[in-house]
Amino acid sequence: MAMHSERTDTGTDRRGFFKKLLAAALGAIAAAVPLAAGFMVATDPLRRKSAGLAQVKVTTLDALPADGVPRRFPVIAAKTDAWNRFADAPVGAVYLRRTADGKVAALNVVCPHAGCFVDFVPGTGTFLCPCHRSSFAVDGAIADPRSPSPRGLDSLAVDVKEDGSVWVAFENFEAGRPDKVPVA
């Protein structure tokens, strides 16, 4: 009898432990399903690629001042916003200028510090960010070492076609880091 009762006690304990384990596990699975579904949708943007590089006609050569002063142009390109597709939406802006060697240089107007648009100040010949006062030389390099920006303005590839149209390979880069990494 004694042995029998001992065995029963152990059995009850073990059964009780498994019951608790099972209850916790089943409960966790039940709770995990809706959470997992939500998590998948919430993190969907991480698995989506950005628009990336786009060859965009920005302007013509005639619109660029001959003296090499940068001029800002809006970049109008096709854009997808979640479920909408826009044939020509404003996607950003660039500064174009004629360089000494007769070519055209392009800079993305976005300040690499926190994403504001920089302004060109003709008086000083530099770009100034109106948000946290980063300043950049006309070629985009950091002008004032106290600037909060971790890198100079981002240059973009330019292609001047035979008809004088100026095309820019437009893309955005991650802000707040010293290296130039395209927003992917």
């Binding site: 950003g92 510090h113 909060p148 890198r151 004088g164």
Partner: protein, 595 residues
């Protein structure tokens, strides 16, 4: 009735609960300094109530967020009041919470055994600030858009999880629909839900420990109702009065500003907004970030704020050390003073910055304009931004500044009201084609000034010579004829500003057109309707939209200056400007836009 209440009480216990709440014992009786809890709950409750009502009509998407907020604010009855309450209360709430925090720290109410409730309170402050931050961009106006963009870029600086978190919040690599749906879900769902739970925990722990400090022995205890409730009600009413004052203050003092909360122009990712600033209670962070040179922003944005937060979090333990409490009080006061100083510094540096001031003025003008357009013609499905993008009054000055102002002027400025560095080498086009403008052109004293031909190669050209010699020698009769020629030529443009006088002077205009072709013989050089002219620009429809568009497309056409054209580019034919842009410049110069 009594039977019914008894029945309900038996089944729910609601009456006993209400009694317990209303007649809760207050040690030492009702006091003014006990109003904080009630006031904060009221302020948070006000956000819930106004927020839910705003929710009834708010639509989070890139093409409807601004549009629906504008509709609430400017079209729906009482919308300005509802939005004003929500907006200004969101500004007061952080102040009240920080004051409450100071009260708790200075009064020593954070010490054992109230550590956990202190932390719960800190969590509440953090949650409220996050709610304010996520709410700031929901109207999707320029200010909210750009300020939040900066905040999100700074979130991306956080190591490891930062970039992923940033992307999940934005809903992708670019700002758009999902940014709004997500910010809205966080602002109106996740955070308020969490705040409710945390608030319940705060209240529960408060009831468990009661009021801290000297439960006065002199005064007898008293129930909450009605003495304390009356004090709370007075303070809540004062809060609402403050909100109402903030909402109507610009009307009361006739200062420039909105009735209720401000709503800027719709967010435009291609239009910079130089006046982007965070809400004033985040200004200290904004100013703080300016102190960190490139590569060190992690310190300013993450490390130092985290250390400060940790120091506050550990206050209950610091207090156990010798002079720990005094240290905590001094630390918090220094922190508040430092934040205040930084915020004032940010305001001062903006006040001394003419570029910032100009950006604010321009932003306000655009905001007012888009509201007018939305009211006049309704918003197309593409969103309110398209209203501004196709509006001559908005785009004309910008296009002029970018393409024309290096030679021309508009009232002496670049069209946007800013001075121009380059020397003026072509005419001032404000009022182009009007009687006044033409009178100046045909004035021997003025034709060779920079406002007309002075900066061009026509300075001493045929026309200038004609005006300075022939016109200068006109008899009074010819001068009268010239006046009518000006009226006749000006009427060719059908300027809206001259509609009334053109109608009134129909006879003189007809006569003027006659003098133009015969006695004053302008058609010796100029073409005009049936006259073919020779070397000078065609005056048929001079100053009309059609004439200007054609001229801007190529001023070197045979109809205009032909081969003797000075430096003016063929904006249309060379593809420098689109036909729509040329049209908007023409409309703007002619003063032709929707009123």
């Amino acid at each position: 009735m009594k039977a019914l209440l008894g029945w309900l009480e038996e089944r729910t216990g609601a009456g006993r609960l209400a009694h317990e709440f209303l007649y809760a014992n207050i040690p030492g009786g009702a006091r003014w300094r006990y109003v904080w809890g009630g006031m904060l709950i009221f302020s948070i409750g006000l956000q819930f109530v106004t927020g839910v009502f705003l929710w009834l009509d708010y639509s989070p998407s890139a093409q409807t967020a601004w549009e629906s907020v504008n509709y609430i604010q400017n079209e729906m009855s009482g919308g300005w009041l509802l939005r004003g309450l929500h907006h200004y209360n969101a500004q007061l709430l952080p102040v009240l919470l920080v004051l409450h925090l100071m009260q708790v720290v200075i009064g020593g109410a954070y010490k054992s055994p109230r550590e956990v409730n202190f932390w719960v309170g800190l969590a509440l402050l953090l949650l409220v600030l996050l709610t304010a931050l996520t709410g700031y961009q929901l109207p999707w106006d320029q200010k909210g858009f750009w300020a939040t963009k900066v905040a999100m870029n700074l979130a991306g600086v956080v190591p490891v999880l930062g970039p992923a978190l940033q992307r999940i919040m934005i809903g992708g690599a670019d700002y758009g629909h999902l940014t709004l749906t997500r910010f809205f879900a966080v602002h109106a769902g996740i955070l308020p839900g969490t705040i409710l739970l945390v608030l319940a925990a705060h209240a529960y722990l408060f009831r468990r420990h009661g009021f801290a400090g000297d439960a006065s022995k002199r005064q007898p205890d008293g129930p909450f109702w009605p003495d304390q409730a009356l004090r709370n009600a007075v303070v809540c009413l004062a809060l609402v009065a403050t909100l109402l004052f903030l909402i109507v203050r610009h009307r009361v003092f006739s200062t420039p500003g909105p009735l209720g909360a401000e709503l800027g122009a719709p967010a435009d990712p291609s239009q910079p907004y130089s006046a982007a600033r965070p809400e004033w209670y985040f200004l200290f962070m904004f100013q703080f970030l300016k102190l960190f040179p490139g590569g060190h922003e992690l310190w300013g944005a993450v490390v130092i704020p985290s250390l400060v937060a940790l120091a506050i979090f550990l206050m209950p333990f610091t207090a156990r050390m010798k002079r720990g409490h005094q240290f905590n009080v001094a630390f918090l006061c220094l922190l508040v003073a430092g934040a205040g100083t930084l915020a004032v510094a940010a305001k001062l540096s903006d006040a001394a910055d003419p570029d910032y001031q100009a950006a604010v003025v321009q932003a306000q003008a655009e905001a007012a304009r888009v509201k007018t357009l939305a009211h006049l013609e309704g918003i197309p499905a593409g969103g309110a931004l398209t209203l501004l993008q196709h509006d001559p009054l908005t785009q004309g000055p910008k296009l002029f500044a970018r393409n024309c102002a290096s030679c021309h002027r508009y009232n002496g400025t670049d069209g946007l009201g800013r001075p121009v560095k380059d020397a003026q080498t072509a005419s001032d086009l404000a009022g182009f084609g009007s009687r006044e403008w033409l009178t100046g052109l045909l004035d021997p004293e003025r034709i060779s000034t920079t406002n007309y031909f002075g900066g061009t190669k026509f300075k001493d050209g045929k026309m200038a010579k004609f005006v300075k010699k022939t016109v200068a020698a006109y008899t009074p009769e010819q001068q009268e004829q010239l006046k009518q020629v000006i009226e006749g030529l000006s009427a060719e443009g059908h300027l809206i500003s001259q509609q009334a006088v053109d109608q009134r002077d129909a006879e003189r205009i007809k006569a003027g057109v006659g003098f133009l072709t015969d006695s004053l013989d302008c058609v010796k050089c100029h073409a005009f309707h049936d006259e073919t002219g020779t070397t000078a620009p065609d005056l048929t429809g001079y100053g009309s939209r059609e004439w200007l568009v054609k001229f801007l497309n190529n001023p070197g056409q045979d109809d205009f200056y032909g081969e003797i054209n000075d430096r003016m580019p063929a904006f249309g034919e060379k593809g420098i400007l689109s036909q729509e842009e040329i049209g908007m410049i023409a409309d703007w110069l002619r003063g032709d836009w929707k009123q």
